[in-house]
Symmetry: C2
Subunit: 304 residues, 2 copies
């Protein structure tokens, strides 16, 4: 699977299922692209589509999705809980398989330039693809949202787009295009209802409070009907090659034991890179000289 | 990767590298087939080629390999330590990805019939593809080897081939064609030089002496220059969906601890089905509701 790329566009429409289906359909009809997932949120009035393929096909599919969204979504009518600047709010490219983040950075920039021209759409590069350092953070790009950007884009040089006109698209607003590494959403459930402990462990392990690199974490209390409440350390691993699943679980296990409890079980939310899971197996077994190439189907997929 | 099949033919030539290269080349030139490995053994005067692809391409490649071997190998001249009945001695088909063993059984039978006709070659079906119960075991099919089979094939009804003439191929002899599940070669190294303990643990876990189903095991002593000798439990897992890696390692760890020692590390020899490795990760993490479909690249490969 050389050059395999994932793309996860977010669309500012979560209340009209037929519109979301139209957009997903426009993406999925491109040959060589697999739609892995799509979800729709009424409160946020927002949808997320996950698809993958090689660079060329992913760009074709993303372009088709943008085109359809600009026809079907009018930002002047949009309200919702989630911050947004456009009908297609954000388009990250993510390296899978043997692809590298650098390829996704290049791809995001080329794609951004293309759609800016084609659709007369202001494009902001964010994440690893950012051209201005303060645009690395999506929150900075999106500050004040659609409504404030509409006022500032032409007058404030700090808000000039990287590509496209310094004027919002009539219905579609603007878009943030970027590159990031695959994100693993991973939860560790403790054998206790002690929410304070889950919060304390989350604070200890997360990067933002001095913990492990590339780890985001928060403590929550799971309350499912008919089940005893359970404290959970909910994590996002944003660069598993820096800090992997096994390392995080080992540390949470240690901290839980120090506090007199145990890890009960874990949950993987959605998809994860196969390499991140194989690393757990290799770590557990103390495999010497293990390579992901020893996983048969993966090796074959890579050679095709 | 729908319908992905592995094929592991064994050829009775291990001393002329140029002949082995010719055969590997004939297999590898078929589009859609990936040669994963090939090895050559001078003592056994025998080579093993591992390749994979979809059923149609694997059959084309296996047929090309048989054709080339029948041209280049003369069983009347062959001597070697390993039991054999023909120039292409044995051809197993193995299900990978989402393929099932039943597909490989069908494939082995169709392929066996085809090459019997095409090359006038006696074909014996073995393993899961066997039509006669006592031919399940390859050793039974191969008893007395090439030399005895040459005498008995026409006269002993018990040795009549499943397909093809009751007369050996002039230079190529006969071939055993079969189906089996993927085999995992997996070693568990103990933190001791106590060979007797490794043998005792192997005897406890292996199916043949009343241990775990689909597990073969033996105890050996590793002696590498410059390293202290290390006792090893060397295993073959012949059906990881019945007894997987995690189960075997857990049991060996328990038995080692009972004897006052520990598992030092493990070794995976060659390739293993990705599912067997993901199962170890899911087991370690106590993942609830885990599916191999959550491994991104694997899911994508499956959908293509």
């Amino acid at each position: 699977m050389p050059g395999l790329i994932e793309c996860v566009p977010n669309f500012s429409e979560g209340r009209r299922p037929e519109v979301v289906e139209e957009i997903v359909g426009a993406i999925g009809q491109i040959d060589g692209v697999t739609v892995l997932d799509h979800s729709r949120d009424e409160t946020h009035n927002r949808s997320v589509v996950t698809f993958a393929g090689n660079a060329e096909n992913v760009v074709r599919a993303a372009t088709a999705g943008v085109g359809r969204a600009l026809e079907l979504i009018d930002m002047e009518q949009h309200v919702g809980a989630h911050p947004r600047i456009g009908a297609v709010d954000v388009i990250p490219f993510v390296p899978l398989g043997t692809s590298r983040i650098e390829e996704c950075v290049d791809l995001a920039r080329r794609f951004g330039e293309q759609i800016a021209t084609r659709f007369e759409l202001p494009v902001y590069l964010y994440g690893e693809a950012a051209l201005r350092p303060n645009r690395k953070r999506l929150a900075h790009v999106r500050r004040g949202q659609y409504e404030m950007l509409r006022e500032e884009i032409a007058t404030n040089p700090d808000r000039a787009p990287d590509y496209g006109p310094s004027k919002l698209h009539a219905r579609g607003g603007a878009v943030a295009v970027g590159a990031r590494k695959p994100l693993i959403a991973f939860n560790i459930n403790l054998r206790t209802d002690d929410l304070a402990l889950a919060i304390k462990i989350a604070n200890t392990i997360r990067e933002s409070s001095g913990g492990m690199p590339a780890v985001q974490a928060m403590g929550v209390l799971l309350e499912n009907p008919g089940m005893p409440p359970m404290a959970q350390v909910s994590t996002n691993l944003v660069d598993w090659q820096r800090t992997g699943i096994a390392t995080v679980v080992r540390e949470v296990r240690r901290l839980a034991r120090e506090a007199g409890t145990e890890v009960d079980h874990c949950e993987l939310i959605g998809l994860a890179p196969t390499g991140a899971l194989l690393e757990v197996a290799a770590d557990t077994l103390g495999l010497t000289d293990f390579s992901a190439d020893q996983a048969l189907e993966l090796r074959l997929a890579r050679d095709r």
